[in-house]
């Protein structure tokens, strides 16, 4: 058995990567700039806009960040998952609008495919193609068996729902049913028979759509009957990445609210003097730290102890999901009236957290899964 490293696998390379990402986002995506990019007006009818900075994305691609977890053989950097987790945490702290998380998720699914077509797709990601998963049905089921898309004669038909960063992605990994079971397929976002229908979503830093397939040509990545396994293998990594985003966003919400509680004075005291404000902020910190530790632990398990990865990843996602809600709610509440406004930056993170916490199953869903693992199925 590989040893479980005390530092969760964060060697010098991973911490340096994290520090440069932190600086990059601080320099290039400060929150006022973000607000004018994604929240320039409050017309509810514009909420299906897709506002992002393509140039910044290009810089990230050139820095090699999208390829950190792609094997060297496929043109990537070959770092462990904790590297992607470190980047996702920093991206979350900046509420950065980009297909970074989606592309990481796709990377882990492709890593699990172990087919030549998947290796080729990884090479394309390493070369800069943004990629996203199209694996969810109309009910928003997070079970990998549930898809409303079918494949026949190499053509995809049906609709994928809740596809993240759909308009930012160059290609999609689609799960589809076949007589022999679920398989996984690659389609180009511009291909004939692929129509991206944007959803009107609340999170201003994200983009989401359903995708209609009408006899779209697809390349097989994982044969019918193997798709569920492949997604399940990648699932722990996917849960870690979204948890890391929540941890980063949670820290922004905490620090921003703490700053406000230090400066805003009422009843002759800064707000933080009052324990009805101070103690819940400490509780937010406790929640963030648990979520962060569980996320690093789960990522480390993916890298060194795969048999325990699903359990630890579901723990991380559950804790991070609850923390995401709590950190958001306290941030809005403790900003008072200003926290209720569009003008206050808090809502960007509030909305991102609420979007995050539901992705790939909310906290209760994760705990139901864990209960089956730890307690056994219900009799």
């Amino acid at each position: 058995m590989t040893e479980r490293p005390k530092n969760f696998g964060f060697s010098e390379d991973e911490t340096m990567l994290r520090d440069s990402a932190r600086k990059f986002f601080q320099d290039n995506c400060p929150v006022d700039k973000l607000h004018s990019l994604v929240a320039y007006d409050h017309d509810v009818n514009r909420s299906n806009d897709c506002n992002w900075d393509r140039d910044l994305w290009q810089q990230i691609v050139e820095l090699g960040w999208t390829a950190v977890c792609i094997p060297e053989a496929a043109g990537g950097v070959g770092m462990p998952l904790v590297a992607a987790v470190a980047l996702a945490e920093e991206a979350g702290k900046a509420a950065f609008p980009s297909p970074l998380l989606a592309t990481f998720n796709a990377t882990f699914v492709l890593n699990a495919c172990k087919s030549d077509a998947a290796t080729k797709a990884l090479t394309e990601i390493a070369a800069g193609k943004a990629t996203s998963l199209a694996v969810t049905n109309q009910q928003g089921s997070w079970e990998p068996a549930d898809t409303d898309v079918s494949i026949d004669g190499g053509k995809l038909n049906g609709v994928s729902y809740y596809v993240q960063e759909a308009r930012k992605a160059d290609q999609f990994l689609v799960s589809a049913t076949h007589a022999d079971g679920v398989g996984l397929y690659l389609v180009d976002s511009n291909a004939d028979g692929v129509e991206i229908v944007p959803d009107n979503i609340i999170d201003l830093t994200r983009d989401q759509a359903h995708i209609e397939f009408n006899n779209a040509d697809a390349i097989e990545l994982a044969a019918p009957g193997t798709g569920i396994d492949v997604i399940n293998q990648a699932l722990p990594a996917i849960l870690c990445i979204v948890s890391a985003d929540m941890v980063g966003a949670g820290e922004w919400l905490l620090q921003t609210t703490v700053e406000y509680a230090k400066t805003r004075v009422q009843f002759d005291h800064p707000l933080g003097f009052f324990q009805a404000v101070k103690h819940p902020l400490v509780n937010v910190m406790l929640d963030i730290d648990r979520a962060k530790s569980l996320t690093y632990n789960a990522a480390c398990a993916v890298d060194t102890e795969p048999e325990a990865a699903e359990k630890f990843a579901r723990m991380a996602k559950s804790q991070a999901g609850d923390m995401a809600v709590f950190s958001s709610s306290r941030a809005v509440q403790f900003h008072g009236g200003i926290g209720f406004t569009w003008e206050c930056f808090v809502h960007l993170f509030f909305k991102r957290q609420m979007h995050n916490q539901v992705l790939y199953g909310d906290a209760k869903y994760q705990r139901a899964k864990l209960a089956d693992m730890l307690i056994g199925d219900i009799a």
């Binding site: 911490t15 905490l254 003097f273 400490v282 730290d289 559950s318």
Partner: protein, 414 residues
């Protein structure tokens, strides 16, 4: 944290092997008498004597005080106490009785007293031959610890002490006490001084001890009255008026946030054949599987399942946070995690014990003395006792103030 999490230095690796070897041959076995859940509840002299024998043998084997210099009775090693603790816990040895001595008195004496006093007191402290207690709290000085009224008056080379301490755990067995008291009424904080004072030898001669009965009905802590107790000046720690500073060393270690790692064991379950551990969330799974309602087990109730898993997650989160604490680049403020640990485990244990009430249903009404009580009645008992942990050692409310102020930088509450 399992030992596989740590990467040992050569010294640690060698020491770990020694510990494992010794523990394999010298585990004290089952206690001949019933032990309470923790050392602070010790009241039966036979239980204490058995545990003191265990502490002495562990000390003689080099597993207690490993990181203290040899001149003061320590092992002269570097970062080895944590290794010994892991191995003792792994071997499920009994807990150590002299907890206040090792956890609070030892580091305070080590950092603040004169060398001859260290050499005099620390060996028998670490070996457990002399039990220590802590005389901080008073009727009017609880959370507001600096409001001390116990007074020490100088008399040549001696001090004469008068006052009243409360909630003093282990005073009934203690040879020594660490004492915070007032030497000047002019300044709240700078009027405090810190002493080590004899207890056992002064009973009837300046010291009176009266037991206080706890919420569980058991005894454990005491009130201690000082009437003209005479103490030599050499037992003063640090300067006159520096008591608050010295007390901070004690409190940092009490909260697990000081530089010295406290020797700790305590993996043994309470009684022969008993598997209940009210300090492990997974025990709630066993409990839920054994409790029936409407002809189904509590483990089949989705609400109960969700609550159990929540606590298992918190427990794992706490463990992983302790793991992260040891990796500076992965922590933010250096005190952020150390100051959280008391809140994390005391509230986890309290919430676990509370959930057990819901799992047990009507049967949670049964006392430890009732033969039909599920799991020997340990869970409701643990719930009552858990408030000792959320109140003692600085209440959790005060701990939240400290975190909010020192780590988040929020304005100081009163």
């Amino acid at each position: 944290m399992s030992d596989a999490d740590a990467k040992d230095s050569p010294e640690q690796a060698e020491f770990r092997a020694q510990c494992q070897d010794w523990l394999a041959k010298n585990h004290p076995g089952r206690p001949p008498v019933k032990l309470p859940q923790g050392a602070l509840e010790l009241y039966d002299p036979a239980a204490l004597a058995w545990l003191q024998k265990w502490q002495k043998s562990a000390y003689d084997a080099g597993m207690l005080g490993c990181d203290y210099p040899t001149e003061v009775g320590g092992g002269g090693k570097t970062d080895c106490q944590a290794i010994a603790n892991q191995e003792m816990q792994q071997a499920r040895t009994p807990y150590l009785p002299n907890v206040i001595g090792m956890g609070m008195a030892a580091p305070t004496i080590f950092f603040h007293s004169q060398d001859d006093v260290k050499a005099e007191l620390l060996p028998k402290l670490l070996s457990g031959e002399e039990i220590w207690c802590q005389g901080f709290s008073e009727p009017g000085a609880g959370s507001d610890l600096a409001n001390q009224q116990t007074f020490a008056e100088r008399d040549g080379d001696n001090w004469v002490i008068n006052g009243h301490k409360v909630w003093t755990s282990l005073a009934h067995f203690a040879t020594w006490m660490i004492l915070l008291c007032r030497t000047s009424k002019d300044d709240k904080y700078n009027g405090l001084s810190y002493f080590v004072v004899p207890i056992k030898s002064a009973i009837g001669n300046g010291v009176t001890i009266k037991p206080l009965i706890k919420i569980t009905g058991g005894t454990g802590f005491n009130e201690v009255l000082f009437e003209n107790l005479v103490v030599e000046d050499r037992y003063r720690l640090d300067d006159v008026g520096a008591g608050w500073k010295v007390a901070m060393t004690t409190l940092a270690h009490e909260r697990g946030a000081g530089p010295m790692v406290t020797p700790a064991s305590g993996g043994m379950s309470l009684e022969e054949g008993e598997t209940v551990s009210t300090s492990n969330a997974m025990s709630l799974v066993d409990l839920a599987q054994s409790q029936k309602r409407n002809n189904k087990t509590a483990a089949d109730d989705p609400m109960i399942r969700d609550e159990i898993v929540k606590l298992v997650i918190r427990q794992e989160g706490m463990r992983q946070t302790m793991r992260r604490m040891t990796v500076p680049p992965l922590t933010d403020h250096p005190m952020r995690i150390p100051l959280q640990s008391k809140l994390n485990y005391t509230e986890l244990f309290q919430d676990m014990a509370e959930l057990a009430y819901h799992i047990e249903g009507a049967a949670s009404s049964l006392n430890v003395t009732d033969e039909n009580a599920p799991a020997g009645g340990q869970w409701p008992f643990a719930f009552m006792n858990s408030f000792g942990m959320t109140i003692a050692a600085g209440t959790n409310e005060v701990q939240r103030n400290i975190l909010g102020e020192r780590v988040l930088g929020l304005a100081k509450s009163k």
